[in-house]
Symmetry: C2
Subunit: 408 residues, 2 copies
């Protein structure tokens, strides 16, 4: 039951129905490709005539193509339709504290080239360097259609409408303009987004492996920080200023350990990789300044190393991981009580130890979930794909193709 926005609505014209149905057809083809016109018509519950017209228009728009002839037990054999994603290219950029990754890929996420190098933090230099790399990569790998855009994933809060990075403590950025200068330097459309939310977009709009992907889910990526993306009714929750979904800084305890954001007791301060390592090494996060927190992350001992020790029988290592797991579950309970998603996608280094921690996570979740069913919200662990952040960045460019047209 959605309210019509009486100050910003779209009246239906005589081409609105076609726009809607064309987009539905594209999504059905995307999910069930390869698929024939007749099968499309059955799934859409329209006549084959209309399906044929919709398909022809999508072919004219270069969004799909006719592939080989399919098999059928009886009757005329169908011509199968496919999404045209192989020769549509995007550049994906993932800027992290340690490294910056740049990838050229097609709209299905297939990698053509990947580069990684030490992140440049100062702003004019970063744009100049990144612009040169992207132009070089575009020249080397661009098809005749060229690169259609640059998607950038950043560990921080981004006003996606203006392309400004509002606050990225891990990079030391505050209210930095990035989209416009990078667009000028590359000559391409640029989209910037928080890395967790970019991953969420990739899950929502590009992933087609899992047939039953829900319209309401939450993505949680635990790494140096905690990135969260919320999908409500098939739409990424953005909020009034495009900064919604920051569950990472919801407190578990107002007087808890210091967080990189400056506050205390944030969920992130309990479950980030740094927090897990701190438990093992006995660092006192309550007394560290935000600057010193950052320097700790440069250590050579990582969470995967900690998991290895836990598997080798180091009881302290196991205890540290399981303590994180409990707090992870307690924070997920907040997400479940507030968003009530169909499922939660959990990603990050610590998920490699899922067999060791799943009980603690689920127990923590059930402990504070308000309903029995909420406490049993399915948690799907680990990304099947390499470079989830880069896929997310690419999704920023590729996803709008499949989005529903705005109506009413």
């Amino acid at each position: 039951m959605r309210k019509i926005n009486t100050r910003d609505f779209r009246v239906a014209t005589r081409s609105t129905s076609r726009e809607i149905n064309r987009r539905i057809a594209l999504n059905v083809i995307h999910e069930h490709q390869p698929i024939s016109r007749a099968e499309l018509a059955r799934r859409m519950k329209v006549t084959r005539g209309v399906a044929g017209v919709l398909v022809q228009e999508l072919i004219d728009q270069d969004l799909i193509y006719e592939g080989a002839t399919g098999e059928a037990a009886f009757g005329r054999k169908p011509t199968l339709l496919h999404i045209k994603s192989h020769d549509r290219l995007a550049v994906a950029v993932d800027i992290r504290f340690s490294k910056t990754y740049v990838m050229v890929c097609d709209f299905s996420g297939r990698q053509l080239a990947v580069e990684a190098y030490d992140t440049i933090f100062s702003m004019p230099e970063l744009v100049r360097d990144l612009g040169q790399r992207i132009r070089r990569l575009a020249k080397a790998h661009g098809t005749k259609a060229g690169i259609e855009g640059v998607g950038v994933a950043v560990p921080g809060m981004v006003d996606q409408s203006t392309g400004r990075v509002l606050n990225a403590p891990a990079l030391g950025w505050r209210d930095v303009e990035l989209r416009k200068p990078l667009a000028v330097a590359t000559g391409l459309p640029v989209e910037i987004e928080n890395s967790g939310r970019a991953c969420t977009l990739a899950l929502l709009l590009l992933e087609r492996s899992e047939a039953a992907r829900p319209q309401n889910f939450v993505y949680v990526g635990v790494s140096d920080g905690v990135g969260v993306g919320v999908v409500v009714n098939g739409e990424l929750l953005r909020g009034a200023d495009h900064i919604a979904g920051e569950f990472a800084h919801v407190p578990l305890d107002l007087e808890g350990p210091r967080c990189m954001c400056g506050a205390t007791g944030c969920w992130e301060a309990y479950i980030s990789n740094l927090a897990t390592l701190s438990r093992y090494f006995g660092w006192n996060l309550y007394k560290l300044s935000p600057n010193k927190l950052n320097s700790r992350k440069n250590g050579s001992f990582t969470v995967p190393d900690l998991i290895t020790r836990a598997r080798q029988g180091d009881a302290k290592a196991l205890a540290a991981i399981q303590a994180t797991a409990r707090f992870l579950g307690l924070g997920l309970a907040t997400i479940v009580n507030v968003i009530n998603p169909e499922c939660i996608y959990l990603d990050g280094e610590i998920t490699a130890a899922w067999d060791l921690i799943s009980k603690d996570v689920v127990d923590g979740l059930a402990e504070r979930a308000l309903t029995h069913k909420g406490g049993r919200t399915p948690i799907k662990v680990g990304s099947t794909q390499e470079y989830p952040r880069l896929r997310g960045a690419a999704a920023l460019i590729a996803a709008p193709t499949f989005a529903a047209p705005r109506v009413a």
Copy 2:
């Protein structure tokens, strides 16, 4: 950018455009009534011809009517259109720990009759009694069109799709079926909803006083418990099992005071009326059992009394109220960081002391808000209407008239 649900979509038919535009017209008329066909056409940016047809259909559906002739400086005078709400009636029910309220009202929320009586907690009796009252009221006040439905607001979690009350600790209900038996007892359609969310629906879809009502906002009602309703993109956040938006039980401190829900440290346990009174009287909520918590609420000394004492110079009373205000603000910060609404509607007894507490609330909010702008999210205080919960209950019946048609 919304994803099309490929397992549950609606293809546009040749009447879809008309459905969309008719509903837009209804909403524009609702917001700007009285309004002429020509003015409607200008606001919708369609020709007067189409507007005329849409209006005729809405008249045929008995949703609007032609009123008096309006004034104009030049030219032919317009016939003004109005929403037909006066002879469309609903019954609203508000079940609370202390009293149960029943109201007959029209679709604009205008009261025709109100009754209040001690709440019956046991289930077959409640339905029998309520059914009798509603049938009697319907007979006394029903027009020829009759009553169109019964809306019930309950302090607890409700699966609005099945009409079951999943958990209402204040009433001692757990997984209670209410909609179906009440529908049988009254012979009317019945809708059940959490009281905070019902109020939110009323704000979203019925209130037309405030021209600039946002599409993204949060309602927070502080009373015996804390009711929260979240509106995202003009739609009430419901979640997979219709239990989303429970910010009341997000913890401020995992080890905090005992809450009626059974957990500890919930926001509600810091800011409910009981929590405020406990601060003044020195009750230790950490050590009280949930049962005893309930009995405390029966006391004759209320928050309004406490506010009176604070205004009379009772420093302890003022301190208790302001401590609540600070925690109120800290919890609002979580809402702002997670939902990022355009504004927050705050209601409840304590808002009568807004002049005494606004600074503490805003300071608490700014303290943990992740962005400067988020920390300054406008807070709109107090309901202009009497019986906000009853208006919310009525909205359950009246609101669907104005909802956007589902498309794609």
